[in-house]
Each structure stands twice: as C-alpha cells, then as structure tokens.
Symmetry: C2
Subunit: 357 residues, 2 copies
C-alpha cells in the first residue's frame, strides 16, 4: 500500500484497518462484501451471557466498560466486519422522562406509565441527547479498544417505532392503542413524533462525535402501517433525521424500515446512504430499482441460521450472487434469535468472506 | 329485469338478488363496490357472543344450525354484500388425524401433538374432505336460509399456513420450528404441503358443490417467508389448488397471501380471479400492475375502525377513489379485531355503499 497522505476529512482517530463497510456505504468498490448482523451482541453468545449474569440489561447499557466489552465480542468471536454499539432504542424515551422496565423473563421491555394523551406527550422532556453520556462514553471506549480493527455503528430507533412502545407501553401485535391515537388525534401523535425526531437527530450526531463511524435508524414496526400512514407518520421524521445527521456530521446513514416494502423508493429518497432490507423481498430485484441511488443491506432470513452450515452457505451464496457488482452489506433481514448456535453465525460470516464470484 | 331463460350453468338454487361480488370477481362492471369483511362473523358482534355462550368454538363450527346462524348475522346486522361460512382453517389438519384444541382464554388454537418428523407427517390421513360433512351441511343450510340475498363465500387455509400450525403446534412469532424443517428437511415439508394441497382442493370443491358461490384461500403467514421460499413452499401449492378448483367447478377463487407483497405478480399468475391485499400496499398502485389480470380485494387497515365514523368514511373514500373504474371488492386488509364497536363496522359498510364518485 502506498504511504497515505494525511486525510483532513477523517476524524482524528486511528485509520481503520478494515473499512469495507464504509466504502460500500459510500458506494465505492470493495474487494469483498462486508458482513455484520443485527443484534450481533447478545443472548446467542455464551460470552455475552457470562457478562449479563453479573448485571441486568439496563445496567449493561449504562456501564461503558461492560457495553464496550459486549460490543467487541462478536468482532473477536464471529469475525464480523463492523461492531454495533450495545444499547437499546428505548433509552431515548427513558431520557425524555419515561420510567423504563426491562425485566427478566418478561415479554420484552415496558413503560408502566405509557403516553395516552396530549398532556402526557407534552410532559416529555427536551434535551434527551444530553442525558445519554453513558452511550457516548461507551462509544469512545469501544473505539479505543477496537484499535481501528473495524468501524463502529451507532444507532437509534425511528420516531414511529419509539412511539409504538411509548404509547402502547409494551410490545404489541395489533398496535391498537397507538393507531387509535393516530386516527383519532393525529396532531397529538405528530407532536410526539417531532419530539422523538429532534431527540434522535441530536443523539445520533452525538454518537458520531463520540466516535461512531456510521449510524443506523431502526424502524422495526414500519410494517404495521398502511403505505400512506408510513409516509406521514414515520418516513417524514426519518427523512428529517437523515438530513440533520448528514448536514451536521457528513457520516453515512443506514435506514432499516422493516416491512415497509411498498415504500422502498421513498426510503431511498430520504437521502440515506444505505437501505436495509428484511427477508421478504428479492434483494436483486430491489437493486435493479434502487442500486444507482443507495447501497443495500441484508437480507437473509434469520431462520436460515437454523439450517446446517452447508445449507447456510448455499443461502448466503444465493444472495451474494444476486448482488454481484452491486453495493451490498451482508446482514440478516432482522435480528438473530437468542437460541442460535454460535457455529451457525460463524458459518454465515465465513460463507460471506469465502464467496468467489 | 327481462324474464330470464333457464341458465343451465347455474346451480339449481335461487338466483341471487345481490351478486355484486360475483360480478366483480369475474371482472364485470357493477353499479357499486361490494363490501364484506374478514372474520365478519365473530367476537365483535354481541349476537355472536350470545350464541357462543351456549357452545364452544369447535361445537359452533360443527353444528350446522349454529354455524349457519352466525354466518348470516353480519348480513342482517351490518349489511354486507356477502356471507362467509363460519368455520376455521384448522378443521383440515384435524380431519387428517391431528387432535385440535381451541380453549377459552388461551393464546389461540393448538395441536398438542405437532408434526415434527417425516414419520409424523406420514401418519396424516388421506380423505380429509370426506370427513367434513358438517361444513357442507352448514353451507347448504346457510344457502337455504339466505334465500338468495347475497353470495356465500367458502374458504380454506393455504398449505403453508396450515403447516405452520401443524408443525409448530400453535401460533408463533418467529416460525422457528417449521422453518428449521424447511431448511433441514425440505422434502418432508413438501410431503406435508402436498397432502394439505390435495385435501384443501377436495375440500373447496365440496364446499362449492354444497352451495358456496366463491371460495377464498387464506395464507395468513405468507409474509413470514423469503420471496423464493414463498414461491417454493407456498405459492406452488396455492396454484395447484386454484387450478384444480377452477377446473373442477368453474367457481371464482380469491387468494389472500398476507404480507407476500413482493410476489403479487406471481400470485395473480396462479389463475385466481381475485387477489386480496393487506393494508401495507397502495391498492391503486397495485391495480396499475395487476388490474388487467385480476380483481383486487381489500385493503383498509383494520385499525382504521378504531377511528370515529367520519374518519372511517374518509379512509374508505381514499381507497374507493384510488379504485374508481377498477374491479374491486372492499374489505379490510386483515381480520376485524374482537374489541371493535359494531357501529364502526356499520360505518365502514355504509361509507362503501354511499360512495359517490
């Protein structure tokens, strides 16, 4: 490699040894497809469970030395091409004043006092991003400990997805309460979404200033909405966040709006760099329409990892073949399940790394 | 109306007074859009709950006089343009030998002995359609009691959706067990799907012979599959069913593959007459691509019915405006929720009937 001239556009940290993911996000050519997977730090790793045995979930999020450690585990153990900071999307509503409970053996996180009125929404505090120093400390420590091996991904939940939890109070199948608010009192919901949008924008910018190389916006419940409602109640806020983050930091942004597959053109039109796809679309077909505007991420069915390693390789190859010559970050189409054998996660990563066109 | 000559292609029953739905299914012009809604007989109706208080769910399905009564209730109470026979998709696996439990206040139906091996699958009995006389009796009685007021819809579950219940043993969020079978032992799963496909074909033909005017195939869990897996493990069996039913009976067929929105062109290519859409797609956009091949059904977000009646009307009108001049059966994008006020269901039906272009 020729000696590099100092690059004044880079942050003052170490040059990355593996920056495949960032090159793809900028739609630059790379020698092979980078790979990571959603919720890659977590319950499927025995090394994670060993640390979790010593601290509850939120303590882990809020203790930078522990968060950094579990963030780096998959880089060491599974060999992924990027780390993603260990945290939770619900730290934003918590930092806006909502009590958040994440209990053992319960059905996911919950807010015991959900937002049910314009008055509840009005009581949500501004300045949430200033109360999340523990995340920025975890990012800074992770960057230091990664020693430039791979990029670090920051993230946040999209306003609509945050609103579903904040209004319902917990996970939901039918989104009855938040949709009732959406159809009965759309103005109140828009106030909440705008508050989340501002908080998330500031939060992602702060993550980048702390050292994150790229950020991802997770709209996990995008697929619950009719297309026109997705555009009105979710995507416009995502677009605002993308624009603010890019204007303020220049860092690349990934948008994952799970299930919003009727709106992929509109998602690509937010100005984001990468659109992340769930597993229900044919990524090659999507690339024909969007590949000139954005890079694509995804889209292996997480359940493929239940298959034997040779079958995992076959399924990985189908996607890689469809995306040859395209700008592609390999990933699952959603989070890895906690019961997944680590060897199967490794088989996926290895198949991506060994792919020959 | 001019005196009709005897029509030897019609079944010997009474001529229908309201056959809007059948005309749309055949892509013939109609004076207004017909409307019904999925799971229209059921828990949101006090008149249904009164009958349910006297008999458990499966008894209701298996007692023709009761099934016919709850089937007709929504025609009388809500004013829909079609009745759908009261039954459950899981009577097919039950008739193939699986013990089925539908208990009060539990999380849906379950099979205490799910299919986990090729041997389990091999033990599934042929001839299921011959053991479902109670359904045909309910259909015949419903037709008699409807006195030709509106058409009667028969239905069945698609093989893939039936397989998810039969293999998992109950409802599931991640489809881990059935997908593990799909990736580890696809041949075993194909044997099961083929068995379901034959049973469902015979079952739907028998429903039509008993008096059903049109049938709908429900693939509720189509959206759990990657596109290529949907084509291989679900749609090819749906296609076989559509072809057999149309060949044998000539009756129109509706296909509802919820969430399989990357495969709408392929669904329309099965030979079905109507494609039913969930609420995440823009029905007007879909009509531009498919409207010359099939009629469309749907696609109001069921949660719209939580809104006040004037908002329900607005949302109904948005869809009707997008489908002006097209072949369209109004419906929800999925089943009505049990907590829905009856007045809101009526508001939807009224809005469709009163629409002026």
């Amino acid at each position: 490699m020729p000696e590099a001239k100092p690059d004044t556009t880079s942050p003052p940290q170490q040059r990355l040894q593996n920056d495949l993911l960032l090159h793809v996000a900028r739609r630059e050519p790379v020698e092979r497809t980078p790979v990571w997977f959603m919720r890659q730090a977590g319950r499927y790793l025995p090394e994670y469970r060993a640390i979790r045995a010593t601290a509850d979930f939120l303590t882990l999020c809020k203790t930078p030395v522990l968060a950094a450690e579990v963030t780096i585990q998959p880089v060491d153990i599974v060999g992924v091409d990027a780390a993603i900071i260990f945290s939770d999307i619900l730290v934003i509503p918590e930092a806006m004043g909502m009590e958040l409970l994440i209990e053992e053996n319960k059905d996911g996180p919950r807010f015991p006092k959900p937002l049910r009125s314009a008055a509840d929404i009005g009581s949500m505090k501004d300045g949430a991003a200033d109360r999340l120093q523990f995340v920025y400390d975890a990012i800074a420590l992770t960057k230091k400990n990664l020693r430039g091996r791979v990029p670090l991904i920051g993230f946040a939940g999209a306003p609509w997805t945050l609103a579903t939890y904040a209004v319902e109070g917990h996970g939901t199948k039918d989104f009855a309460v938040v949709k009732e608010m959406m159809y009965r009192d759309p103005a109140a919901l828009h106030v909440l979404l705008e508050k989340f949008s501002r908080a998330v924008s500031a939060y992602l910018c702060a993550q980048i200033r702390a050292g994150a190389d790229i950020v991802q916006i997770f709209d996990t419940w995008a697929g619950a909405l009719a297309k026109k409602d997705f555009l009105e109640f979710s995507l416009r806020y995502i677009r605002d966040i993308v624009q603010r983050v890019k204007e303020e930091t220049g860092a690349p942004v990934i948008v994952f709006a799970k299930g919003a597959n009727s709106s992929l053109v509109e998602i690509a039109g937010t100005g984001c760099d990468v659109v992340s796809l769930d597993w229900t679309v044919d990524i090659g077909e999507v690339n024909k329409h969007l590949g000139r505007r954005v890079a694509l991420q995804g889209n292996l069915d997480p359940a493929v990892l239940y298959a034997p390693p040779e079958k995992i390789r076959d399924e990985v190859n189908i996607i890689l073949r469809a995306m040859e010559g395209a700008h592609h970050i390999f990933n699952l189409g959603h989070g890895i399940t906690p019961d997944m054998p680590v060897e199967h996660a490794k088989a996926m990563v290895q198949a991506v790394k060994e792919y020959k066109s």
